[in-house]
Amino acid sequence: MSEKVWIAGGGVISGIGLDVPACIQSFRDMQPGMTAMQYLPSVHRNTFPVAEVKADNATLADMARMPENISRTALLSMIAAREAWQSSGLGDISQYRVGFVSGNTVGGMDKTEDFFADYLANPRGGRLQQLLHHECGSITELVADQLGVRHHVSTISTACSSGANALMYGSRLIRNNIVDVVIAGGTDALTRFTLNGFNTLMILDQQPCRPFDDTRTGLNLGEGAGYVVLVSDSLAARLQPWCRFSGFANANDAYHQTASSPDGTGNYLAMKGALDMSGLQPQQIGYINLHGTGTQNNDVSEGIAINRLFAPHFPAMSSTKSFTGHTLGASGGIEAVFSALSVKEGIIYPNARFEHQMKELPFAPATAFSAGHDLQHVMSNSFGFGGNCSSLVFSKSY
């Protein structure tokens, strides 16, 4: 049994880049990904800015080496998962016991919602092919099959914390000797279903979002996919892992189906649990990748929970959602890659558009990109609907 679990690599596709180096360059250049909708057809096209992946399905299909007519969610997933695998240096995937654990929130909804227009007009109408990959698990299988993963496939859907929970489950699969390697993270494409859903909750900002800013009025949706490659001790010894996946915890806020409790109970319990598992004191965390959606509710609850746990030693922190938008089921995976890279290269990511200090909080996010810091431990937060709160901790390789 492997005692420790390591991050051997990562891959990301998001509104700020088609791979990890492109995303990092966008942070350096302070180039967030929000624009008017280019690819998602919606009546809200000119109302809500979104961080779309800057490529149409034909281009993504070429990159993924998959058919163009399958869900964009699967195409994004494949591109990021392949980048993650290649960055690990593990080589031929068939040589290992590999698991693929992917989070997503609405599966192949991008195709289902097209299908539904024809189907509602006529119960025998609509092309069934568009419905074939509606299930969340089907998206995971399209990619697992393409990657050649057979030992374990699993899909997690806990709203905005799906990707983070995929890493936890993946880590347990390795520690229980069920597999030796897990590609873990999440994916989600923009859909009208989610866009309209978030619109009914009145938490979408009509301007680029301002996480942790006192004047924030909501989030921007994004899309993408992000995966890390988790490996056991014995495999890590042959590689140059980015860092160690040292701790994690999942807690439920048990307050409201869509809102966080005012004191951030679930957020606090997740962060505290992750620290405890890592055997760390709060002051040992060098950087927090915030959940930081930019809604009134999230940022104050998360901030209060951080204040309770970390005061008076606040680490550097920022919300990369100010660049990528909120990528829902993918966000935990994307931000896990950013956080693991943060440990590896000492990166503190900028929080775009922060200007006004939140009056409830004694700390402010970082606003400029910087690298080369000595970051021993980095935390990544993902909190979601259903009260699902998860925190992950990544640590230097010892």
Binding site: V43, H152, L201
Partner: protein, 354 residues
């Protein structure tokens, strides 16, 4: 470390929610679409909330409560659900309004309740449970992944009591669409004759089965959850046979130690062939019970199968309605549940009397 099933709860097309002997009065149907027999949900949920809840949320909350009551627990340390389809009803409502109203004038309730983690979130909310909370949505592995996650967490020691369950609902839209995919029989079929039907297709089912799992045995505990394993897209039946042998070996037993196999036969001649082959190869003399003629076919139906197997161990006999082959021995000690969904998702669960 042993993991015990300390309480179970099941809401299904059979009268499983009210206690009493297993399948004492089996419900027979002549249809291709079964529906749950609903208990009075007011015993667990406030009347005002019930009205806004979809059936899958109600059946989940109900089965979860039944299993906690049976285990004498007020709240678990963790809640883990498995659901392949999630909250189809609310998804369908929101999608329909979105299309019909051209994305205008929509209300949030259906969207809020459409997320796959709604049930696990609701259970946590109702119990005030701040512990670990997860939802697996992987087709025919959703329930098995939930069990595996629970086992790993219990072994790790970060929880003592875990509520884990599998559930799925049928809606008019889902039934209409799955019918177009050709999943079901063309004509209504008598459920007690389903498993001998000579044609393709099965019957649709739904339900919720929850398990209170713990590392210490309670007074009413009858079975240990000895192991869970999944096999994805086996290339041929030999791979399934090898996987079962390996699974039994990992659990320190042989096919001869199995007193009863519980199989996921669903009356589709194409799907049932593998059960014949496995029985012939590994369990030629072993008694066999089956369950999908009782609960219907759905991706998390194995949860019903495990629930039934636990009840069989409790009563030490296989009810007439569940018998498929042979006669179980006097002592029913080890029960192997073998299920597959669509031929692509094969799973094994081993229960041992304790």
């Amino acid at each position: 470390m042993n993991i015990y099933i300390n309480g179970t709860g099941c809401i299904s097309p059979q009268e499983t929610a009210q206690g009493g002997l297993l399948l004492a009065t089996p419900r027979e149907y002549e249809t291709v679409r079964l529906a749950t027999v609903d208990p009075d949900y007011k015993q667990w949920i406030d009347v005002k909330q019930i009205r806004r809840m979809s059936r899958v949320v109600k059946m989940g909350v109900g089965a979860a409560n039944l299993s906690l009551e049976a285990a004498g627990l007020t709240a678990p340390d963790a809640i883990i659900t498995g659901t392949a389809y999630g909250c189809l009803d609310d998804t369908g409502v929101f999608l329909t309004k979105m299309v019909n109203q051209q994305e205008e004038m929509l209300t949030p309730t259906a969207f809020i309740q459409s997320t796959h983690n709604t049930v696990a979130g609701h259970i946590a909310l109702l119990l005030g449970c701040n512990g670990y909370n997860n939802t697996f949505v992987h087709r025919g592995f959703s329930f098995e992944n939930a069990l595996l996650d629970a086992i790993m967490i219990l072994k790790e020691g970060s929880a003592q009591h875990i509520l884990a369950g599998g559930l799925d609902e049928i809606t008019n839209h889902s039934h209409q669409l799955l019918t177009r995919f050709g999943l079901y029989k063309k004509e209504p079929v008598k459920t007690m004759e389903l498993l001998n039907s000579p044609s393709r297709g099965t019957i649709a089912g739904e339900g919720a089965a929850f398990f209170s799992l713990g590392i210490t045995k309670q007074p009413g505990t009858v079975a240990e959850l000895s192991g869970v394993s999944t096999l994805y897209k086996p290339l041929w039946e030999g791979e399934v046979i090898g996987h079962i042998m390996k699974f039994l070996e990992d659990n320190n037993c042989t096919p001869a130690d199995i007193d009863l196999i519980v199989t996921g036969r669903n009356g589709d001649i194409d799907h049932d062939e593998i059960y014949e082959e496995i029985a012939a190869a590994l369990f030629p003399e072993t008694a066999e019970a089956s369950f999908k003629h009782l609960c219907g076919e759905y991706p998390t139906a194995a949860a019903f199968g495990v629930w039934m197997a636990n009840a069989i161990i409790a009563e030490q006999q296989v009810p007439e309605a569940a018998v498929f082959f042979g006669k179980a021995p006097e002592q029913i000690n080890k029960v192997l549940i073998y299920n597959h969904h669509q031929g692509t998702h094969h799973s094994l669960v081993l229960l041992t009397a304790c």
